[in-house]
């Protein structure tokens, strides 16, 4: 029997979610096939790439230090990052706001965010410091300050979704990220809770958890696959939100990426290891279901953009 292609096209599709405004706005999601399966049907919007810029000037490798050389503020770094080719959006991350760390004030963060918005015309994603209480406050205030910019806040979690859904989503019409840690049941539950608060499901993105390759990544794989399968094959509207996966923050923290060459000479250049860890993890996330990945290194961004372009 001759081979006849059987494209796997679903009647359901992933929600389209637009970030930013004007001609630099980007749209995530929209496909009615599994990720990257452009051979099954044309993909409405190719997966997108964000660049991760922290308010902490510390950089994990020489190349990034050089790249941001001369940039003293978050806004300067964000402007530099946004100017990179292949960057679809800029994710500013307020690591220094952590109450258990530098405990930068919300007001200072808001001022930073405003400064970023003035110099960056690409869509802005705002990530917090992982402290649930501080983030809720931070996201609400930044959302107010950046009203009309159509930003995405990353993210609302089980502990603080109420404040964030109300503060960022309902009050200022920003997009809300819903974060769960490789738990498909919680991913769904959080989307239900956020939409029950009155936020339109079409204004929600998901971060269903991430890890560096080799570090329990199998849980990320299965979560991504099962979310996409439920969204498309079961037409589960509570899981049709596009998935945004922060990759760089995970991969630049593991020892394969951080150990100096002097400690492990046989492993070779530290920066190259960090890039490959970031690139390989991102490729796997895209293969299994991420609609956008957030990366740190310009070379990683260039490579992942090449990969996406080749597959579309």
């Amino acid at each position: 029997m001759p081979f006849v292609k059987k494209p796997q096209v679903f009647s359901a599709k992933i929600n389209e979610l637009t970030l930013g405004t004007g001609d630099k706005a980007v749209t995530l999601g929209g496909q009615n096939v599994y990720n990257l399966y452009s051979f099954d049907a044309p993909i409405a919007n190719a997966p997108k790439i964000g660049i991760d810029v922290s308010d902490d000037p510390e950089q994990p490798c020489e190349g990034l230090k050089n790249f941001y050389a001369g940039c003293d503020t978050l806004a300067q770094r964000a402007a530099k990052a946004a100017a990179l080719e292949n960057v679809d959006f800029v994710c500013i991350r307020f690591d220094l706001a952590d109450p258990n760390g530098a405990n930068k004030s919300v007001e200072d963060c808001v001022a930073d965010a405003k400064a970023v918005a003035e110099v960056v015309d690409k869509p802005i994603v705002v990530a917090g410091c992982k402290n649930a209480e501080k983030d809720a406050d931070l996201f609400a205030k930044v959302s107010e300050a950046l009203q009309g910019k159509n930003i995405l806040v990353l993210s609302a979690k089980e502990e603080n979704y109420k404040g964030i859904a109300a503060g960022a989503g309902l009050a200022y019409g920003q997009k809300v990220g819903a974060e769960s840690a490789v738990d498909i049941n919680l991913a769904k539950q959080l989307n239900v809770l956020i939409t029950q608060m009155g936020v339109d499901g079409h204004n929600v993105a998901m971060n269903v958890g991430s890890a560096a390759a080799g570090y329990g990544f199998e849980y990320v794989v299965s979560t991504l696959e099962r979310v996409k399968a439920a969204a498309l094959s079961q037409n589960d509207a509570t899981l049709q939100m596009p998935i945004v996966t922060p990759v760089g923050v995970e991969t630049w923290g593991v020892k394969e990426s951080t150990a100096p060459e002097s400690d492990v000479p046989e492993w070779g250049c530290q920066e190259e290891r960090g890039i490959d860890m970031e690139v390989e993890t991102a490729a796997a996330c895209l293969a299994y279901g991420s609609d956008a990945v957030i990366l740190k290194h310009p070379d990683s961004i260039k490579t992942v953009a090449q990969l996406i372009a080749a597959l579309m």
Binding site: M1, P2, F3, K5, K6, Q8, L36, Y37, S38, F39, D183, N185, A212, A213, G214, Y215, G216, F217, E218, V221, S222, E225, R226, A229, T251, K255, E256, E266, W267, G268, C269, E272, R273, I275, D276, M277, V279, E280, T281, A282, A283, A284, L286, A287, Y288, D299, S300, K302, T303, V304, Q306, L307, A310, L311, M312
Partner: protein, 762 residues
């Protein structure tokens, strides 16, 4: 790929001749489909029908071997559906078009990446040797001979038949793959591969052409194939890899049911980072062999980690090898932290230890890949297992420090470990890994450290001089005193009795379990109050049996179990009990004092793996045994569950047990996490029931992690479905009113008890 009865019926002669002993062809087909009869019982099946059938029942994807390496054999597209079985293998490409220096450099680089990660050797498994059209067969053979010296299986990539023949000759006696058949040369290439008895790689300008070539090869009898997804473009190669695998596994296309090979080196065109990205992509989906231009540590570290993650069996815990893991430059004088071999525990603990920047020896003991508390409750992480580990790895001689920090969660083991390792100072560490950083940095552990009487060797000598362990302060069990009927809120609680012959559903109350801190404490101190209270609550709620879990109880198991058995039976009219501990002597001791008026004792539990001996224990003591249909980890499908079931049944029967005394446990799975496996469990119960076997299990595990108000709803729905499937018992929380009412109602529908308006109250 099980065929449905109707599909088989279509292949029968449809004559209803009864030669097979069945009244109709339809009845015969149905029995074949269920596996009750084999197809050859019908003498009139045509050869064509038989071959169609054998084709249909063949696995959807072939499993091929190259030396010790395995390719293919997948049955699912996603790891969570079951498991992926054959990990992606990596090859480095070398070509006769390269100048000699380059060839040598590539070959020399191949052995450089070779390391171990979580008990798995990470290295380049194969060498891909490409033949360029403008080179001679001699050039090719010369290169093949050089590559052969690496001692790894070679993939010959060569469409020239003469060159392929010469190279195959050079590789005679080794394991290799001949990747070179196409629409034009397939017959000749197949002859070369067949003669050399090796796998033949097939390529095509399109998937349609590839498929047609494979069909021709298959028709000629060659089914030892691997499919090359091509090098035309990244997009086409990816489409090929996915479509081939999907056609085989989802659509049952046997001609695409072969492993695949992806030449990423050709696709990346020299861009090292893009090559890394592509290797990751094709490891995810669905390269069996992925070829790169060079393997560096930068590429390998994430790649092999990714592969290890993707190809772990979701049903089996990932384990790290037991041993000493020095962290932050620890040496023999650094303190030791002890934990289990569950990979996530290891990563978590070792990560925090690294962050502390303090030199520590992490000691990993074999605990069957379970987490600390689970392993402890199952008797896999005990003072004996730790002692055994210390002996096996010669820790006392390898490490001079005598500070042993144990996980805070198993503080209860401190005394027992101290007894078994008298030369060490056993220190109870933190309950959570994240607390370790501060705990070590501030050297909090030193507060509890007691220097051994004499240091180093003398301590060991002292232990030798006095081989009898120091008498441990074990509180002797107090006598059982029954002071009239037990009262719960002024209401008398009396066990109403149980007829072992009754068909009504047997509930085994699970609330006396040492994982509960209140019960653990009560058992340590022989405090009868909390134990009697929980027993009374469960009996009042209608429990048939009570489970008594005393934990591993290594130092006083027999005494503790006897005390518990007598305490419960004497206070509650000989309530029947399930004796639940990893300590066999404790179970035997418990049975010795057990009163059988209301039913035999239950041994909880045996499995088809390391705990199979508990069947012998039940047989020798005329007890019932709960038989877990698993060996190491959860059974991957019902075929495996039933295999374990039959193994244990056979063993029980051969030891003289009645089949009614083996209660099979399908292992209930948690919905949050294993929702897609719930029907497997239900079908397993049906299979037990169809064979006339009894069954039980920890049913409420399904709702673990759900909110309190949801659990009774899920448990009740599941018990109703299970009872429909034939479940005869369950280990439950009898204080769950909704569940107990559901069970009673189902017993009415099953006609096990006569209905009356007050049926819930009796």
């Amino acid at each position: 790929m099980a065929l449905k009865g109707l599909d088989i019926f279509k292949l029968t002669p449809k004559t209803n001749c009864k030669d097979c002993g069945n009244p109709t062809c339809m009845a015969f087909a149905m029995k074949v489909a269920s596996g009750a009869l084999s197809i050859d019982k019908c003498p009139h099946m045509s050869a064509e029908a038989l071959s169609t059938l054998s084709e249909a029942t063949a696995p959807p994807m072939k499993t091929l071997k190259v030396g010790d390496l395995t390719l293919g054999g997948e049955t699912v597209l996603s790891r969570h559906e079951k498991t992926l079985v054959s990990k992606t293998l990596y090859a480095v490409a070398v070509c006769d078009c390269m100048d000699e220096a380059k060839q040598d450099a590539v070959l020399a680089s191949i052995p450089k990446v070779d390391y171990e990660r979580i008990s798995e050797r990470m290295y380049v498994e194969m060498v891909f040797v490409n033949h360029s059209a403008d080179k001679s067969a001699e050039d090719y053979v010369a290169l093949v001979n050089k590559a052969k010296a690496l001692g790894r299986p070679i993939v010959l990539s060569c469409t020239d038949v003469a060159a392929a023949k010469a190279a195959a000759e050079a590789l005679k006696g080794t394991d290799f793959i001949l990747d070179g058949a196409d629409a034009a040369n397939y017959a000749d290439m197949s002859a070369v591969a067949t003669e050399a008895k090796v796998i033949l790689g097939v390529r095509g300008a399109s998937l349609e052409e590839l498929h047609a070539t494979v069909e021709k090869l298959e028709a000629a009898g060659n089914k030892n194939l691997i499919l090359d997804v091509g090098e035309a473009s990244i997009k086409d190669a990816y489409a090929g890899a996915v479509e081939i695998r999907r056609a085989a596994l989802k659509d049952g296309d046997r001609s695409f049911g072969y492993p695949s090979i992806v030449n990423v080196a050709a696709l990346a065109k020299g861009d090292a980072h893009l090559e890394a990205a592509l290797m990751s992509l094709f490891t995810c989906k669905y390269g069996s062999i992925v070829v790169c231009s060079e393997m560096t540590y930068a590429k390998a570290l994430p790649l092999y980690g990714l592969r290890q993650n993707i190809f772990t069996d979701p049903q089996k815990p990932m384990k790290v090898a037991p041993g000493i893991y020095p962290i932050n430059g620890a040496d023999e004088n650094s303190p030791c932290c002890l934990t289990v071999d569950f990979a996530l525990t290891y990563f978590l603990v070792s990560g925090e230890l690294e962050r502390s920047k303090m030199p520590v020896n992490l000691l990993i003991t074999d605990a069957s890949g379970m987490s600390v508390l689970t392993a402890w409750a199952a008797g896999k992480f005990s003072s004996s297992s730790i002692k055994k580990f210390f002996d096996e790895f010669d820790i006392n001689n390898k490490i001079k420090s005598r500070a042993l920090i144990i996980p805070g969660k198993v503080a209860v083991m401190k005394g027992e470990i101290q007894d078994k390792l008298p030369e060490w100072s056993v220190i109870v560490g933190t309950t959570e890994a994240v607390q370790l950083v501060k705990y070590l940095r501030d050297e909090e552990w030193k507060k509890s450290y007691k220097a051994p009487a004499a240091d180093g060797a003398p301590a060991a000598a002292a232990a030798e001089a006095a081989p009898a362990p120091a008498p441990k302060k074990v509180i002797p069990a107090p006598p059982i005193v029954v002071t009239g009927p037990y009262k719960l809120e002024d209401k008398e609680v009396k066990y109403k009795g149980h007829d072992p012959a009754s068909k009504t559903f047997v509930t085994i109350g699970e609330r006396i379990h040492c994982i509960s801190p209140a019960i653990r404490k009560a058992m340590e101190t022989y405090d009868e109050g909390p134990i009697l209270k929980r027993a009374a609550e469960q009996i009042a709620a209608g429990a048939t049996y009570l489970d008594v879990n005393i934990g591993p109880a290594e130092s006083n198991g027999p005494e503790l179990m006897q005390w518990a058995v007598q305490l419960l039976q004497q206070n509650f009219n000989n309530v029947p009990l399930a004796l639940d501990t990893a300590n066999k002597a404790a179970i035997e001791a418990g049975i010795k004092v057990y009163n059988r008026t209301n039913g035999k004792p239950i041994v909880n539990s045996a499995d088809a793996g390391s705990r199979i001996d508990n069947i012998n224990l039940a047989a020798a003591n005329d007890a019932i045994v709960i038989a877990l249909c698993s060996a190491d980890g959860i059974a991957k499908d019902n075929e495996e569950r039933m295999m374990h079931c039959h193994n244990m049944l056979e063993r029980g029967l051969s030891l003289g047990m009645e089949s009614d005394d083996l209660w099979f446990d399908p292992l209930f799975l948690v919905v949050k996490g294993m929702q897609d496996k719930q029907m497997d469990v239900l079908n397993a119960i049906k299979a037990f029931s169809d064979e006339g076997l009894k069954s039980t299990g920890g049913l409420s595990n399904n709702s673990n992690g759900m909110p309190k108000h949801i659990r009774p709803i899920m448990d009740s729905a599941l018990v109703a479905m299970c009872m429909m499937q034939g479940l005869t018992s369950a280990i439950v929380n009898p204080c769950d009113l909704r569940l107990m009412e559901t069970i009673k109602s189902c017993d009415v529908f099953k006609n096990h008890t006569l209905y009356a308006d007050s049926y819930l109250e009796i």
